[in-house]
Symmetry: D2
Subunit: 293 residues, 4 copies
């Protein structure tokens, strides 16, 4: 099977590599073409422009850094739109907002092409290991065609229906994650102030029914006050805001998430927005004892 | 090693059986003595009264149904206090409040005995499999003596310091669990009202960083509206109330747990107190759409 | 002093009447010109179009029903823009969003005119009695010129600085009002469920430090379940959402308002959005006792 | 009419003075008898002990500083209990918890006497002006007998039913007050961070439907960071905790009050417990901008 691949950042590079290793013929393009060399040694062909890649390949996957890049690759000169058309499919796996995704979808469909949005859950390591979780939506026929490739890239793909549902699903998951991070922070603070060891609490949690990889990974770092940003707090808070707005549209009352969102806002107001989202722990614990917050 | 064992309910029976299977000589007592027969066939000896068991054994473990039973076995006629004394240890593994634990501890120490409280996390199956988590506190020397037995009964034991800390640790864990259950309920409701499949949300969650046994176990049942009480909602709410009270004592502000507590109260007010604590989902989702709450 | 007056709805009619009674020469315009007759009998002159009014008067006040009407009167054919210019002032007292106000402000200023937004707090009765509260912003010189007229129309006017601040001030006031309505609802429910008379609570409140006209007006109606919409709940919830969004922009954490907002959302989800905002009481009390919510 | 009066602190002195001025014959007692002299010059008689006062008077009113004093005057040697009996009434107007009130009530009734609890709302100035609000409960016949005296002492008295209801009513009122103080604090912070003048917000509030004496009195002081304790924050938080506990007993979910309570706890954790309860404003505003909280 032949696929095009646009965008060879950390994620895209790992993903295209996996496709090559599983026997796919891959035509790659990257804004900085030099980045293509590594993949050429693995057997990839280079396309000069996004349009050239789409012209050559029936299916083209994109993995770009942000909505601006995702739009540019489609709408700019020599972009995807110039060659997309009937019988061709475009699959954008970048993480973008629903509005960006709609815009690309409409443009591709107007040209007669098929479109799937397929944001992923997971970062560098899962991308390298082919262990991403793929949240796809849009053209079901194109999705079905892509399942073998998705099976190479991820451990599981979901087809979620209409365009925008991929982004929504990520918001819901991140909202739950944000509330859980607050719950953990409150528990660690309560333990600490009540004469229990927060580290022991982590150990107990890890043996029970609510043990989860996030508590295991973030908990010890939080106790050391180490908030190296895997997922910046300001982005977590933005996702909670958007999830609450989605709830507002649909009249869903979510008091626990709303309380968690206010704690993240407090953290932002304290200048913690660029730290990891687990830094909300500073807001919860900081108020006690030392007279600082 | 020889140990006494008081209380052969579902938990106690499984625990005493494990001790026998690992070569311990066990002298058992139960209020209804007939229940001892099964263990006698496995090699246990029967004591006529708690006092008789303590007289015979250096270490006596108790696993009773509630605080009233825990107090009765110690303070009533023919109770533990009549024979406890210097050189003897009493280990109460029942789930009781801190006040009950303090009362027993003081009485045992006044007689010259050593005392450890050791409530467990885990129910029937982990008890049978020797996979309990043991939250011990009190006399450190006695705890150290008991570690080999705890290793038979559980996958892990913790020594948490002074009497009362076992109960406190359970409260903190249950508080986090209660907030997480609300987070899940809000996420499932948001998914449902936003055109996403709640079942797919569960599938996505189970593949990611916040995957945990509770979501996996309770989630599908919640979607079916099945709330068979493994842990009744009214008990969950009581634990959240007590955890928040512990926070109040120590000036720990916990807005997310407080919001979750109010949702559990709402559930109680709707008559859901005797269902499983996951029935808080009914409060969250119920308000939308159907005109019911 | 001569002023133009655009819009003779319930509010505008009362306001223009007051100006006439205090000796102002007033040129009025209304989309349905017949509505001008009553004011003509009081001494008003009629302008054929908004442009004609502005051509004749140095200062023109508008009081229109919604943002669409406010924009139409300015930008449509024969609108304000055709005659506004250097030396003339336009004062829009309609309740519109900040974006609408900015748009009008920019257009008027580009023509060389001066602009003030001046939304009011208060409805029919205060308008008739000249007891409005006027929240003005924009051109300070024009505001100063208008103070005598504002003194006729209202009991107090405030100059709040830049365009948009009038709308913001209303959001902040309404946010506090929404939280207070929830506080009252919770107090009435607690009284009722605790064996106290909610009516007596209202009586006690009315004699103390937190006595306020809203509790006095709405409280008795709430106890009767009467929610005739003076201010619809869905508009109150919209204002809370916008106030929280304003807080989000400025990193202000507001957990009490957030909790109140979720209660209003719950009310919307129960189909109470078109009732008065005091119907949030149904959400608070409904969950208890009757088995309904 | 003749009444006894026990306790001549700031409140009691003002109240006994009012009774004398309205023609009551009053027999007073105070732990430090010297304090009685001022009232003797106004016509009061002195009783040597609480028992002596009760022996002489059909009705005896008490206004003591705290629960310990209220209990001591009744149960100690030469206390109320020694002379109370059939045909005599005892009215305790001190602010005490429900348990203290029950204890006194039971003891007085067992002796054949009648008892009314009658805590008041209002402090020194209203006491001097006879403008207290009286929250009475207990023996209805005794209450009816006391109405003329209550009319002298207060602007209004309420009969609330069974013993304990006076304390409960105060909790409900204080809970609403605490939520309102948080609402005001959030509004002032939002105004400040959004480019509006907090002082202007206070002015606007004071002209509208939610104007109330507390906002008017506390608002300006809050803007100056002046928190002279009229009602200490730690007591406000205690009352919110007790009100929420009352809600818990009766399954009343109160998410707004719960959020407010957590903010007061945060204030306590920052060492603000001894300041006025309006110091919760520091928690709300503190987190923004300055890097402090």
């Amino acid at each position: 099977m032949e696929v095009g691949f646009l965008g060879l950042g950390i994620m895209g590079n790992a993903m295209a590599t996996n496709l090559l290793r599983h026997g796919y013929r891959v035509t790659v393009w990257n804004r900085t073409l030099a980045k293509c060399q590594e993949l050429v040694t693995l057997g990839a062909t280079v396309g000069e422009t996004p349009a050239a890649v789409v012209a050559k390949c029936r299916y083209t996957i994109a993995m770009l850094s942000d909505p601006a890049a995702a739009l540019s690759v489609v709408f700019d000169k020599d972009g995807v739109l110039e060659q997309i058309g009937s019988g061709k499919g475009y699959i954008d796996m970048s993480t973008v907002d629903a509005a960006t995704s709609f815009k690309i979808s409409e443009a591709v469909k107007q040209k007669g092409g098929a479109f799937v949005e397929a944001p992923v859950s997971g970062s560098k390591k899962p991308a390298e290991d082919g262990q991403l979780v793929i949240l796809a939506a849009g053209d079901k026929t194109l999705y079905d065609d892509m399942v073998p490739a998705f099976d190479v890239l991820g451990k599981k793909s979901f087809f979620l229906g209409e365009i925008g549902n991929g982004a929504k699903m990520k918001l819901v998951v991140n909202m739950i994650m944000g509330s859980m991070m607050n719950s953990l922070s409150e528990g660690l603070s309560l333990a600490d102030k009540s004469g229990l060891s927060p580290q022991t609490l982590l150990d107990v949690l890890d043996l029970g029914a609510i043990a989860n990889p996030m508590f295991k990974l973030k908990g010890p770092a939080m106790l050391q006050g180490s908030y190296n940003p895997a997922f910046p707090l300001k982005h977590q808070q933005k996702d909670m805001r958007l999830a609450l707005a989605l709830g507002d549209e649909n009249a869903v009352s979510m008091p626990v998430s709303a309380a968690a969102n206010e704690a993240f806002k407090k953290a932002r107001s304290l200048g913690l927005g660029d730290l990891d989202f687990s830094a909300v722990y500073e807001v919860v614990k900081g108020a006690g004892g030392s007279g600082q917050a």
